[in-house]
Amino acid sequence: MNNRIALLGNPNTGKSSLFNRLCGLRSKTANFPGSTIEHQVGTCSVPSGPELTIIDLPGIYSLRLELPESKVCADCLDGKIGDGRPDAALVVVDANNLPRNLQFAASAMRRGLPTVIAVNMIDLAQRRGFQIDAAHTSRLLGVPVVPVSARTGSGIDALKAALAATVLSQAKPAPQIELPDGEPGSAPSVRWAASVLDAIAAGSAPREDDTQLHDRLDWAFTHPRLGILLFAAVMSLLFAAIFWFAQYPMEWVDMLFATLGGFTERVLPSGILRDLIVFGVIGGVAATVVFLPQILLLFFLLALLEDSGYLARAAFAIDRVMRRFGLPGQAFMPLLSAHACALPAVMATRLIPSRRDRIATIMAIPFMSCSARVPVYALLTTLLFVGRPWAAGVAFIGCYALGAIAGIATAALVGRSVLRGSPPPMLLELPAYRLPNILQAFRIAFDRGWLFLRNAGSVILAIAVVMWWLSAYPLVPPPESATALRAQAAQIIQRDAATAEALDTQAARIEQQAQQAGSFSGKVGSALEPIFAPIGLDRQLTVAVITSFLAREVFTTTVFVLTGAGSDAEGNESTTLDVVRSAKRDDGTPLFSTATSASLLVFFVLALQCLPTVAVVARETGSWTWAIGQLAFMSVTAYLLALVTYRLLS
């Protein structure tokens, strides 16, 4: 890559909006080697100029702070990471807060790279009565200074031209006023910024907005009780919106994969390849990708909230509660989003600056009840409370509560044992209140969705294929009873087509049941049955639990297949549930007794039956030890509490 420009600046200077203005959608999210800190890389076209590669670095206050983000930015400017030293630096400063931003620009210029300064939000500053002489500033600092508004797009063409000229000329900063020796915030740096500001703005400063209104909003949003109530209300609306609006696109995704599977089944000749593609690849990926609409909506709405300035205040309100359990306020959003899916929630912990806090949060996330658990909760609570929907509803909410309590207790336990210490005090800049940028939110949602799809296409796809193979092989010959049913169907098909079809369906279920029992996963189920017997599971349920390690919702599918349920000729849902409810074990006792259903419910709330989550935790913590340790801890906890539940109720 040539013409590489590092984009850097303080947080809340509109850096990402400017990046989007420069690069549009031609960008991708990446991590520096050995780091979980993200940066965006995009391509910027300059009319009659060279193509520029823009590296959007994290927002930082100083290049010398003992924070991972600061270190990554400094290393990038020095060429210690990435593809060597960038060809130039683009420093974004907020026109409304120049005293602090100029100090940061000075520290960046001292690195010696050809530099361009973009004075962003100039439109807002001008409305507030602030004027800046860009040409004079440029002469004084010895670098091109371009006033821009990333929001409206004004000044962007001039900025592109200045970037192209700087990259081509490789002109280093030549300030008329000597750059300060200290880092931002030091006395020399403060004095330097004040003298520059005096020279370029003739003492004018932006007028303040309605501080009374902002003070009142800050008071309400960070209040110990009112702040939490408001947060609960905002989050309830957010999640209601996610579940409501996502249901339709989820159905479309489901239908799309079903159509694709059906088409492939018709087109390809029957055999291993067809089964692999239809059941392994398409079926396995569909089980995960169906949650993509929820993930897109979640990140879109969170981006809107963040851009409005509300989330930073909410983090303070919730920090007081979270801190009691050894978690920082920033942990709340990942924990909340884990109720949609643990994968993006684990990735969202990158927002938490401290590694200790990040790991403590990751340890709690898989306990939160994700969408994949919903079908399992729905099945088991319905089996537990026949004809009592209100009781089933209470049990459903109880599952969510049990998961949340277990997660927070785990974080507290980990924080007081393995990860000693407490979260560092939360120091945050509270961004100005503003109307959120919808395009920016779309972009963030798109990025997260793409990351999720990439994961689905690699880790999840591999697991799906392996699990399919384990449950499909070795091939088991059809049982005699199934063969007899098929022969009977063939005899009567001319006279009674409906009965023949029902007999065929019954035969297929018996064959599938035999295949499940005789497959590698079935054999594993039989071998592991003694382990799961104490919590009330027989061979069939053990297979269902084992296969659900692919994805939790696979449990319901497996149960329906193993019990011969599914749908009757009319596709009647109650009939399916009746079949499951009346299913018997090999010894003739009910498959789902009250004790077994309750024990399974507890097990599913607490167990980490999601191998993709294990893979993502290993990647985000940078260690398989945490991932395997978490899997072991959650499995043992789930087993023990399921055992207690089974013993109490049986």
Binding site: E183, P184, D215, F316, P425
Partner: protein, 103 residues
């Protein structure tokens, strides 16, 4: 109450006849809307990480702050930026209250 008393004392110190150096008080004792200046060594009581971060965030020497919301978090305005600090940090930042402007 304590914050109000300090504000009154500070006013009398500036408008009255008392001749003594300005009083430095912890930031968390300022009332809402009150202004103060951050003097040299104001952040010395803080651990280095927090001290450097706060300085880089704008809470540097000789800057003027306005309290937007006392308590936890203590929200202060420095130039056009608002910073949220936990009370325990605000309690360790020594500032000199600025007398209110004459009507």
């Amino acid at each position: 109450m304590a914050a109000e008393r300090i504000a009154v004392e500070t006013q009398s110190q500036y408008h009255g006849t008392v001749e003594r150096p300005p009083v430095r008080i912890p930031l968390n004792q300022l009332a809402r809307g009150q202004r103060a200046t951050v003097e040299c060594s104001a952040l010395d009581a803080l651990p280095e990480t927090e001290r450097c971060l706060l300085a880089a965030m704008g809470l540097g020497e000789r800057c003027e702050v306005r309290v937007c919301k006392p308590g936890t978090p203590c929200i202060i305005q420095v130039d056009q930026a608002r910073l949220g600090l936990p009370n325990e940090i605000a309690a360790r930042i020594m500032v000199t209250p600025v007398p209110p402007e004459q009507p």
